[in-house]
């Protein structure tokens, strides 16, 4: 276990180093911070002096080292927009994003496992074919389209009467395509304060309601992929000898499917899926923009628009860190589920 953690820590440091170099290179090449800091009227001589003071004329390596040393102390400088340490800005936006990602992850797991398993067990059932059809379409629909359609149907509402309203069946069909709308689709509502910068949507029914549409549209990015992945893995596992042997032992089908097959199916799914969940953090940029969800994604777009370079760099570093953490957690879970991996370091 210790050996495993040390190894992972080393990996993590390596990954963070690479990300920091990239982030720093971006910082070095993206726009002119002086231009952002001072007004138009400031003369060139003053700008040059400011540049010198900020160390912007130092050699690349010196600048990087200064950056890295500060970064290690979680000091990424001040955000131009907010005029606050960037870490504080991030800390304020992080909970909204994490809650959104957590909700989307929850939805993905809740839906993909049963659907994937069902369509592997009954590949010929019409419901399986329906799920497979929808998922293949789903993979190719861009997230903002999903989001806009969701908003139209559930937030704005649809009043559409394509069928003759004076007949009973027409009225019924019209009713069917008409939706009320009214689901919140803008911002977080008023989340409940938990601790520090953490305000949560999980604590009240109203808060949860605000999460529904953004979480669904974020989940919709990965859901088809997960369903197909689980289905494919499960189909393969069901072909294996040990499943045949389990049947030859006379075990009930439920045990064969949900213990023998599912456990083996989930091993590769955990590895692939865990990485995908990590990337969800990056995908929040689109979702948060459409729903004006005040998380890191929205903040990041803002930062880009206004060349808030320290904030951009901090965002990249934090997202990288989240990525590294999720991967480590995924590996830990994998090791706990898979008996052939020994985390304990004891000889097998």
């Amino acid at each position: 276990m210790i050996a495993f953690l040390i190894k992972r820590l080393f990996h993590a440091l390596l990954v963070m180093f690479v990300i920091s170099v990239i982030a720093f290179a971006i910082q070095d090449n993206l726009g002119d911070p002086i231009q952002q800091m001072v007004g138009q009227s400031v003369p060139e001589s003053e700008r040059a002096q400011l540049r010198e003071e900020l160390g912007l004329n130092d050699p690349f390596l010196v600048q990087y080292l200064r950056f890295a040393i500060n970064a290690a102390q979680l000091d990424f400088g001040y955000s131009y927009i907010f005029n606050q340490p960037t870490t504080e800005v991030i800390a304020r936006h992080l909970p909204a994003t994490l809650e959104l990602v957590a909700s989307a992850t929850f939805l993905i797991i809740l839906l993909s496992v049963p659907i994937g398993v069902y369509s592997a067990i009954k590949p010929r059932a019409w419901l399986s074919r329906f799920f497979m059809g929808v998922s293949i379409v789903g993979i190719s629909i861009p997230v903002f389209l999903t989001a806009i359609v969701l908003i139209q149907i559930f937030a704005i509402g649809v009043s559409w009467t394509p069928f003759p309203a004076d007949t009973a069946w027409g009225a019924w069909l019209n009713d069917l395509v008409t939706t009320e709308g009214g689901m919140p689709a803008y911002g977080r509502g008023d989340p409940v304060h938990v601790i520090g910068t953490w305000y949560t949507n999980f604590a009240s029914p109203r808060g949860l309601l605000y999460l529904v549409l953004p979480a669904i549209s974020l989940a919709s990015i990965m859901l088809p992929l997960f369903i197909r992945l689980i289905r494919a893995e499960m189909l393969e596992v069901l072909q294996s000898d040990y499943i045949k042997f389990a049947r030859a032992k006379g075990l009930p089908l439920s045990r064969i499917y949900f213990l023998h097959a599912l456990k083996n199916t989930m091993l590769p799914v955990i590895t692939v899926g865990g990485v995908q969940i990590g990337t969800l953090v990056a995908y929040t940029i689109l979702t948060e923009t459409v729903f004006q969800w005040p998380g890191m994604g929205l903040m990041f777009l803002d930062a880009i628009e206004r060349s808030d370079i320290p904030l951009i760099v901090t965002y990249l570093m934090i997202v990288g860190l989240i990525f590294v953490i999720t991967n480590t957690v995924v590996d830990l879970i994998y090791g706990l589920v898979n008996p052939t991996v020994k985390l304990t370091g004891k000889p097998a």
């Binding site: 042997f245 032992k249 089908l253 023998h260 083996n264």
Partner: protein
């Protein structure tokens, strides 16, 4: 009546361009405690025959006809539920590759206990007791420790011992072993085979042993079947068939054994190879490889080319061959069904 009676079993695989018939008119029986060997070259249908007994043929395969009577009860057409009660309980199986047969993510103990619990109302504690007892019977070193180990912690030979223990868990009437030692090291093949034999003898368990190894068949089994292209072509007491094979194919198998060749010369392989099931020749499926199908004067022997041979009795054996029926002075006996 025997414990197991298989009659005219017809198994097909539904493929895109029509069915292929993997078993044609397969009949055999097994008495209580009897050991039956099934031999034949790869693709002859041995495994299909074994798996169809418990209706476990893999997907496009289905039983198209025939009857399987076990202990007075017809198995074909039984519900999954009824079959489940027989699988692992009254008829259990041992597979070819012990590396693939056990579930890699479940402990040995769990995989044994679940089998007992599927068929008996007992506590986990009791079940573990029985499991341990069976592990002792298969002579696995430090059996208690094995219960909590996972398959990857055991060698192939040990895993096959565990699988034999699982097959014996519920004191079945019959064990079907499909090439139980093929995947193992040569050095432990004999050991595992001897273990299986002694346990079957001791507990009076019937054994259907599928193998390529005629030596094993003659040591272990009392009766044997020879299969070729989905049919049984010779059947009878193992001793008689080994000592005096009647069918030219069986004779060829015996001659192909290394000990039959003069030292230093080439092995006596049967020329040609078994036809694929979707492209069987007319008449006797073996005729393209059979010396008898061609007369000494270069003329074809029409029967071999046109008619599927029916069984004739020779001593205590049944043989499906035109040559044998001619030698024994039978009129040509038509097979019960002819190939389409």
């Amino acid at each position: 009546m025997s414990l197991l009676d298989v009659n005219h079993l017809d198994v097909r695989f539904a493929l895109r361009n029509g069915d292929i018939q993997a078993l044609r008119d397969v009949s055999f029986s097994l008495d209580r405690g009897e050991r039956l060997g099934i031999v034949g070259e790869s693709g002859a249908g041995k495994s299909v025959a074994a798996f169809s007994l418990l209706n476990l043929i893999s997907k496009p395969g289905y039983i198209a006809g025939g009857s399987i009577r076990f202990d007075g009860q017809e198995l074909i057409g039984q519900s999954e539920r009824a079959l489940r009660h027989i699988r692992g309980h009254r008829i259990s199986m041992i597979f070819q590759d012990p590396m693939m047969t056990l579930n890699p993510v479940l402990s040995i103990g769990d995989q044994m206990v679940e089998c007992l619990k599927a068929h008996r109302r007992i506590s986990t504690h009791e079940a573990r007791g029985i499991a341990l007892h069976k592990l002792v019977q298969v002579q696995i070193p430090s059996p208690e420790a094995r219960l909590d180990q996972y398959p990857h912690e055991l060698s192939g030979g040990m895993r096959q011992r565990v699988i034999i223990a699982i097959a014996l868990l519920l004191d079945p009437d019959i064990i079907i072993a499909d090439e139980p030692t093929t995947a193992l090291d040569v050095t432990i093949q004999a050991e595992i085979m001897a273990l299986l034999l002694s346990l079957c003898e001791k507990h009076n368990v019937g054994l259907i042993l599928i193998t390529h190894d005629l030596g094993v068949v003659s040591q272990v089994t009392q009766r044997m079947l020879v299969m070729y292209a989905g049919r049984v072509i010779e059947e009878g007491p193992t001793r008689e068939i080994i000592n005096d094979p009647q069918h030219p194919y069986t004779q060829g198998l015996m001659n192909a054994l290394p000990q039959m060749a003069t030292p230093g010369s080439r092995l006596n392989q049967i020329p040609g190879s078994m036809p694929s099931l979707d492209n069987l020749p007319d008449g006797c499926a073996f005729h393209p490889r059979c010396h008898f199908a061609m007369r000494s004067d270069g003329q074809r022997r029409q029967a071999c080319y046109e008619h599927v041979p029916g069984f004739v009795t020779s001593g205590n054996c049944r043989v499906a061959c035109h040559m044998v029926s001619e030698m024994l002075g039978y009129e040509r006996i038509p097979a019960e069904e002819t190939t389409s």
